[in-house]
């Protein structure tokens, strides 16, 4: 190998740090989101009931980390000298004719996650029950994000990527399916009291 080649390679990669960062942030976001979905689903289930407070903290942290990674994923694309998208290109779905369907899917997924997630902090204003009903769609948003990465992702064909995603996404999908099946047979929402804003049940004997 020639020493010159190293400098060529270095210059070849330099302008693409934004692009690489975006890819890395996107993949990290997908993993974090998948973990968050797992934890979120476990929270509502019967399995780890004793650990629910821990799960809630973890779910919140993972969700915020996901959102942060997604913001990095989108914003760093603005710095890519090759693609040079505009703010509208990364923030508005189906805007330009030449944008791929998968990109738009990812954009929709991001906004959905942002709204469904951050609205948690305004849930008393929205109404907790309503918020909870809406929040379930976060799982759908996650699926859209998964589709985005598989359809558009540069690394989608790579074995290391598929392995990494499979490890977190398959359990999440499994839990999601289990929950959907349970939700289909049990219609009463009364068992979900645990995650509501604290409402003290009047106790007869104090």
């Amino acid at each position: 190998m020639h020493a010159n080649d190293v400098s060529i390679l270095a210059t070849a990669v330099g302008p693409h740090l934004f692009w690489i960062t975006s890819r890395a942030a996107g993949i990290a976001a997908l993993v974090l989101a998948s973990l968050s979905v797992c934890v979120g689903l476990l929270m509502g289930g019967r399995l780890l009931r004793a650990h629910r407070p821990d799960l809630r903290v973890a779910h919140e942290a993972l969700s915020l980390a996901t959102l942060a990674a997604l913001v990095v994923h989108g914003l760093t694309l603005l710095g890519d000298g090759y693609l040079h998208p505009s703010l509208g290109d990364i923030a508005v779905p189906f805007l330009s004719g030449y944008k791929t369907f998968w990109t738009s899917l990812g954009i929709v997924a991001f906004w959905a996650l942002l709204v469904l997630g951050l609205s948690y902090y305004a849930r008393s204003r929205i109404g907790v029950q309503r918020w909870r009903k809406l929040h379930r769609f976060a799982a759908l948003a996650w699926i859209l994000g998964l589709a985005h990465s598989l359809g558009e992702g540069t690394d989608a064909g790579q074995a290391w990527f598929l392995a990494m995603i499979a490890i977190v996404a398959v359990p999440a999908l499994g839990l999601l399916l289990a929950r959907l099946r349970r939700g289909a047979s049990v219609s009463a929402p009364s068992s979900r009291a645990a995650d509501q804003a604290p409402v003290r049940q009047p106790s007869i004997a104090q």
Binding site: M1, D5, A12, G81, Y82, K99, T100, Q158, A159, W160
Partner: protein
């Protein structure tokens, strides 16, 4: 996603150029973009031709001043000359204008010679090496001020470097279109947002048959070699335009043609030339992003990236779906004209 392809090919740079564009983007519709490419290339041909006495390049080469004002694209070209010299260790030397003219004017008998015949009459094969003078080191470009500093008499040869550069400049302009391919007299740049896989053929310099077809979404491609034009000089020795910088004479290294892939067309051009000039032993080392080498005896070798880790190798067996996002790194883009 991409519309129908608009294709236009035309004479330029003493050869054929073409633009293949599908879909609309920043430049306009595909039709607008193709017209834009044609207009630009024909304009640059006039400005950068060594054979037109009044071209910007010829005037620059004649200019007796040491510090010369130059247009942004000319400045970028001069910088490319310097980059090519430094990256190739002096093998790719675009300052050999006088030597080329000598090799070219060595005979009135300019009957074109078949490559096989040229090879039969050629001297012993030897890898090329850098000129001791390394004149390209004396080039200094101040792009901000639009000035070129060089010793008077140092002439620049547009040749392959300019074509690679032009392809890159046009590629920058077309980056927002779904799919494009610019063919600048054999130097290609392929790209587009839709990341459509495009077949890229490499031909044999002996009989024109296709030796290999790459399918890539974004890449620069360049082919360098001694087959295109060979003739006999006055002494009866075969001659062509690819010179060994050390001797100033046409190089016969054992390789007749090399095609290089690279992030930019300019880099591909540098690698392709370096590969031909360095000879059979060192040539593969220059084709770090892949390519094809054709040897004197007509055999050829396709170079792809070597497998690095087992996982990557495994991944390569996963067939990439057409349209699946594939992108490519490109070296720093050139300035607009």
């Amino acid at each position: 996603m991409s519309g129908a392809e608009i294709i236009e090919d035309f004479d330029c740079f003493g050869s054929r150029c073409s633009a293949v564009i599908s879909g609309a983007g920043e430049v306009g519709s595909a039709q607008d973009a193709v017209a834009f490419v044609k207009r630009k290339l024909l304009g640059w041909h006039t400005r950068f031709s060594r054979f037109m006495a009044d071209s910007e390049l010829s005037r620059l080469n004649r200019d007796p001043r040491e510090i010369v004002p130059v247009s942004p694209l000319m400045a970028r070209f001069a910088q490319a000359v310097r980059e090519a010299g430094s990256l190739s260790g002096g093998l790719v030397d675009a300052t050999l204008v006088r030597e080329i003219e000598t090799a070219g004017y060595d005979g009135d008998l300019r009957d074109s010679l078949a490559l096989a015949s040229a090879l039969a009459l050629a001297p012993a094969r030897r890898p090329a090496s850098a000129a001791p003078a390394r004149r390209w080191q004396q080039l200094e470009v101040d792009r901000a001020a639009g000035m070129l500093v060089r010793p008077a008499g140092l002439q620049l040869d547009s040749g392959g470097l300019a074509k690679g550069l032009f392809a890159d400049v046009l590629g920058d302009a077309l980056a927002t279109h779904p799919s494009f391919a610019i063919n600048c007299a054999g130097d290609l740049l392929v790209g587009g947002v839709a990341r459509t896989m495009r077949p890229i053929r490499v031909q044999s310099p002996f009989d024109g048959r296709t030796l290999h077809t790459f399918e890539l979404a974004r890449t620069g491609v360049a082919t360098s070699g001694i087959g295109r034009r060979s003739w006999l000089d006055r002494g009866g020795a075969p001659a062509h335009h690819l010179l060994d910088p050390a001797s100033g004479r046409p190089a016969f290294t054992g390789i007749v043609q090399a095609t290089a892939l690279a992030p930019s067309a300019l880099e591909a051009e540098i690698r392709a030339k370096a590969a031909v000039l360095s000879g059979p032993h060192s040539a593969p080392g220059w084709l770090t992003h892949g390519g094809v080498i054709v040897f004197d005896d007509g055999s050829h070798r396709v170079i792809g990236p070597a497998p690095v880790v087992t996982l990557a190798e495994l991944a390569r067996h996963t067939r990439p779906r057409p349209g699946s996002a594939q992108t490519i790194a490109r070296a720093a883009g050139p300035a607009a004209a």
